[in-house]
């Protein structure tokens, strides 16, 4: 260990190059990770941050809340299915809402406060009460943009008074407004007049399953409707799964590049130190000790790379505009830190065979 640590300490210039390369890769990966998380959480909050464990959709909706439309008969079918504890309708409307401070793109969610699909992330005030129309809880993002408790949010001539604030409940990157099904329906009729007169319809049904019951089991009970878990409902939102898989594949590729960079770096270092390693082996240094030194150096370089990359990524996160959906999660940082360490160790491991093959006898006599 004495060798490995002193080499880094006295050869900072050389190790600066590998640390810089790793820092840049970690920076790239963390920034992409923040973007992936931001997009995912921003798109799916409305189906993740509620008490619903599953959602049921009309047969032709392909799991899309917006495309789905269900009549009272279908809602009852879900409610009566075995394994369902609570099931209530959910209405969704993407539109522009007006508040005293301006006009905003919002997603209006109509839910039954006593039923399923109700946000569980209240941070301030209260949710609309059961049977109460004309009130709403809004997402934190909307509050950040200037809407406050006590304001009216209006769609056309229908308005709801803000009584509470919830967090992490965006839908397709738009802040949500949670109100009663009646108020939602009135707002819907303002922008979609063709629905005027339809009083009982909903988009989908939010389900609280009995414990241990899965969405698949309920699907089995009601064959004609589509039942998805809350998680699957999030992934079924257009673009979410595609974004995640695209960004994740870039992230994994970058981590593979990190392993390759470390492998190349240590291959060069070992090549350059063949003579020294031969002499050290001749002096009685076990191969194991030389190998452990290289792996330790890779771990140190990776750790420093993670720290610098994380700081740089956070720094960038602090200056990007709010509209860019980035989310820095500790879980993602830990995952990427572990992956980077593994990449470093795997990269360094490629040099171990090379070290093992160095013949101590070459230390004497120069050439044979």
């Amino acid at each position: 260990m004495m060798l490995a640590l002193n080499e880094i300490r006295r050869g900072r210039g050389r190790f600066a190059s590998i640390i810089a390369a790793l820092s840049l890769i970690v920076f790239l990966v963390l920034t992409l990770g923040a973007l992936a998380d931001g997009l995912f959480f921003g798109a799916t909050g409305a189906v993740r941050s509620t008490n619903a464990t599953a959602y049921a959709f009309s047969p032709d909706a392909k799991g899309s809340l917006l495309r789905s439309s269900m009549d009272p008969e279908q809602v009852r079918e879900v409610q009566e299915a075995p394994g369902v504890a609570t099931a209530t309708g959910v209405g969704v409307l993407l539109t522009a809402g007006t508040a005293p401070s301006g006009e905003y793109d919002v997603a209006i969610f109509g839910v039954d406060p006593d039923g399923a699909g109700v946000p569980t992330t209240l941070t301030e005030g209260r949710l609309p009460a059961a049977g109460e129309d004309g009130t709403a809880a809004i997402d934190q993002e909307l509050a950040k943009q200037g809407v406050a408790i006590g304001d009216d949010v209006s769609v056309g001539s229908t308005s709801a008074e803000v009584v509470g604030i919830v967090k992490d409940s965006s839908y397709q990157l738009q802040p949500t407004v949670w109100t009663s099904l009646n108020t939602w329906r009135e707002m819907r009729n303002e922008v979609r007049p063709e629905f005027t007169g339809v009083v009982d319809d909903v988009n989908a049904v939010a389900i609280e399953t009995e414990s241990g019951v899965t969405a698949e089991q309920i699907q089995g009970e009601i064959g004609d409707l589509t039942v998805l878990s809350a998680e699957a409902t999030g992934l079924a939102i257009p673009g979410v799964e595609q974004q995640s898989s695209t960004l994740n594949s870039i992230i994994y590729t970058a981590l593979a590049v990190a392993a390759l960079v470390v492998a190349l770096f240590f291959a060069l270092v070992v090549l350059e130190k063949r003579e020294l390693f031969a002499a050290l082996k001749a002096l009685g240094t076990p191969t194991r000790k030389l190998g452990a030194g290289v792996v330790l150096q890779a771990i140190i370089a990776s750790l420093i790379g993670v720290v610098i990359g994380a700081l740089a990524s956070r720094g960038l996160g602090a200056i990007v505009p709010d509209e860019v959906p980035t989310l820095f999660r500790t879980e993602t940082l830990i995952t990427i830190a572990i992956f980077t360490l593994v990449a470093g160790v795997v990269g360094a491991a490629f040099s171990l065979r090379r070290i093992a093959r160095i013949d101590p006898a070459t230390a004497i006599g120069g050439s044979l």
Partner: protein, 260 residues
Amino acid sequence: MNENLEFVPPHPGDPGVDPASDATSHKDAILRVEDVSKIYSSGDTEVHAVSKATMAVDQGEFVALLGPSGSGKTTLISMIGGLLSPTTGTINLAGTDVAGLNKRDLTKFRAERVGFVFQAANLVPFLTARENLLYVSTLQKRISRKEAHARADQLLEELGLAPRAKNVPEQLSGGERQRVAIGRALMNDPDLILVDEPTAALDTKLGRQVVELLAREIKQRGKTGIMVTHDLRMVQYTDRVFEILDGELTHVEQPSALAH
């Protein structure tokens, strides 16, 4: 300085004693090499790098292994130092059958029982002179950490390197580096010190100083040393000279017999 001197014809070219018969007269030798051969086969041909070498070196002796390049002197010293396994024959150092050790035990053997001085000092470039000495002490368990620190300081002092203890090899002269290498070889208190052409990278004057110092350190400590060299001028600091040619130890003589 040595009584035997009288009995050796003091002019060059006169062959000395055959090493094999010489070996029988050294009953208490600390190092005994018997019938050692190293054969490399490449395709159908066999190359006898060393054939049937027999020699004995007493405790406290500093001997030279003299031969031109390609004579097998490097191969022979590598086998004695546990870096190469002989094809046949036995090597015994203070009761240890070197040729019979496995790879792991050979590594330990080299760390604890043998000190090496290489052609180019081959110091660890990113360790100071003192750390270079301390490094080899981490490879053995006989000397405690505390003793090792005291020993390193004492060695550096004796070798005139105390003011340079905190310098890395890059900041040292060629002669100083070779002195650090000598200190490193002595650090673990080995039974045998093997020296490989220590003057190859130095000019004649510095080379002489280094070999002289080496001889003095080995003598003072009652150590046993073998120096591989092709340089006749360096053998005057040794007790006896083994000549090797084409893989065969031809004769052993007094350094004065080779003086000119």
